[in-house]
């Protein structure tokens, strides 16, 4: 039983420039009392998320859409617990797994096998779980003996195979995905899509941020549109009736343009 509830969640963060991030400025502001505090007010604050209300339960399949910078990634990071909301309340029940920022913790000097252990453990697996995921990863990536070679010898496509395989090795209850199915050859694309389908099917709650309308229609049942950090629309996705295709695609295309 997984659940994720957000009540009036907001994320605002200051963007420090060199002046406000330096120690000198802080020391000067101590020595000159209140006067420089006006300068401190110049620290720009970005309101990345504003008053987000969501209640996600078992079986929810959410597609997040919106322009670049509309807050999709920030929302995913907040749901994942990486960003702590500066406003509002939040409840998360269930094991959260993320498929974004692939490659965090990867060391190109180490072999494929060693990187599998590193990254799987970083994503929350124990060393045993990480090692037991190896046969599945060997089979999925088809990298063969390259898995025993340093990752720096891999092509971009091979690295994608490895990263994608690791990210989808552990089955989570809540799955958060920031569009990933970009690289790789056609055969791998197809394979990745299959694995993704299985992966999504097992998760209780699934959230995907993407600009690709066909991915949305394949994986999601509900579409949430963000604009300037606010939810502007929240509607069900009609699953692909052929005669209605234009109508279903059109609103999504508009946002990705």
């Amino acid at each position: 039983m997984a659940r994720m509830k957000l009540e009036g969640v907001g994320v605002a963060y200051p963007v420090y420039n060199a002046a406000s991030q330096s120690l000198r400025k802080q020391i000067v502001s101590i020595s000159t009392g209140g006067r420089v505090s006006a300068a401190k007010g110049h620290v720009a604050t970005v309101l990345a998320l504003d008053d987000i209300n969501l209640d996600l339960k078992d079986g929810d399949r959410i597609g997040l859409v919106g322009h670049n910078g509309s807050g999709k990634t920030t929302l995913l990071r907040t749901m994942a617990g990486i960003f702590r909301p500066t406003r509002g309340r939040m409840l998360v029940e269930g094991r959260v797994s993320t498929v974004f920022g692939l490659g965090a913790g990867m060391d190109p000097e180490l072999t494929g096998y060693e990187n599998v252990t590193r990254m799987a453990m970083l994503l929350g697996a124990t060393q045993k779980e990480a090692e037991s995921s190896v046969p599945g990863i060997e089979e999925f990536t088809e990298l063969g003996q390259f898995l025993a070679m340093p990752v720096r010898t891999y092509s971009a496509g091979m690295t994608t195979r490895l990263l994608f395989a690791v990210a989808t090795a552990v089955h989570p209850e809540i799955l958060l995905v920031d569009e990933v199915l970009g690289a790789g050859d056609a055969a791998f694309q197809e394979k990745a899509r299959q694995r993704m389908t299985e992966f999504v099917a097992r998760a209780s709650i699934f959230v995907l941020a993407s600009h690709a309308p066909d991915l949305m229609r394949q994986f999601c049942t509900r579409m949430i549109k963000l604009e300037h950090g606010k939810i502007v629309s929240d509607e069900p996705i009609i699953p692909d009736p052929p005669q209605d295709e234009k109508a279903a695609v059109a609103p999504i295309k508009e946002q990705t343009a």
């Binding site: 998360v92 920022g101 000097e109």
Partner: protein, 284 residues
């Protein structure tokens, strides 16, 4: 189940308030520390694999590290024992342990202000305890220290007259200093992520402390300037590890100073983690 909220002291659990996860900064920070400790296996694996990766392409691998220390010890040992008119028999063991401990402390402290910035991709993409990043960074330095112990061992085989059971008193000293260094790393790391001037500041000024620490000199050789050395905490870190190895019982004063520093920095780092560390991803 995990609960999160808009900052310290504002937790209002949605499910009726039976589980208040974080009451204040100290509890928050302690929870982070406990979470990191329960995943120490990962920290060790990260530290170890990074060390391995660094040496994989060189033929001599980890021997380079040991060799570097050995060359430093032999070179400095000979030159300074001649310059300072010292007896090599007692001077070389002293400078060896002093140098190895100094390298350990200096490596940890100079890395800390840039540590979180260097691990930015992990911080913004993976939810993990903040202490875990410190653990793995400290782990690398500790592995280096273990390498260097080979040099210490060799020197003590060549100059054997110090060996006694009292030498084991160096172990508790090393443990306290290690705990202290982890706390300093976390504390300086968080401040350094927010104030980017801290890293060049530490890099510029920390080496001066080398000359204010009893690595080359020994107590009694500085005369009137000795007082400065007493105020340098690193002096006492070196003493509680080195003195037992040289057959001297460290002074109570040194132990008290190291313990007090450890207590204060551990508490400060836990408080800082609870009250500020959640902002780290925003500062990257």
């Amino acid at each position: 189940m995990r609960l999160r909220c808009g900052g310290p002291r504002t937790y209002t659990p949605l499910d009726g308030g039976s589980r208040k996860v974080c009451v204040n900064s100290i509890a928050d920070g302690a929870a982070d520390l406990a979470a990191a400790w329960s995943r120490r296996q990962l920290a060790i694996y990260l530290a170890w694999s990074e060390t391995v990766a660094r040496y994989r392409r060189s033929t001599l691998g980890p021997i380079w590290l040991v060799l570097g220390t050995a060359v430093g010890v032999v070179g400095m040992g000979f030159i300074w024992s001649i310059l300072l008119n010292q007896d090599m028999q007692s001077f070389i063991p002293s400078i060896t342990v002093g140098l190895v401990v100094w390298q350990f402390i200096s490596g940890v402290v100079t890395e800390s202000p840039g540590m979180f910035v260097k691990n930015a991709t992990m911080l913004v993409n993976i939810r993990m305890p903040v202490y875990l990043i410190t653990f793995q960074a400290f782990g690398r330095h500790f592995i280096n220290l273990l390498h260097n112990l080979v040099v210490v061992l060799a020197v003590f085989i060549i100059f054997p007259h110090y060996n006694s059971w009292a030498s084991l008193a160096a172990l508790p000293g090393l443990v306290i200093v290690s705990i202290n260094l982890v706390a300093i790393m976390q504390l300086v790391g968080i401040i350094g992520a927010r104030f980017r001037d801290l890293e060049p500041l530490v890099l510029a000024f920390f080496p001066i402390l080398f000359f204010l620490s009893p690595v080359i000199y020994r107590p009694g050789q500085l005369g009137a300037a000795e007082a400065i050395m007493t105020f340098n905490p690193i002096t006492h870190y070196i003493r509680v590890i080195r003195d037992p190895l040289l057959g001297v019982i460290p002074s109570l004063e040194s132990y008290l100073i190291v313990l007090a520093m450890t207590g204060v920095t551990v508490l400060l780092s836990i408080w800082m983690t609870g009250s500020r560390a959640y902002r780290l991803p925003y500062w990257m």
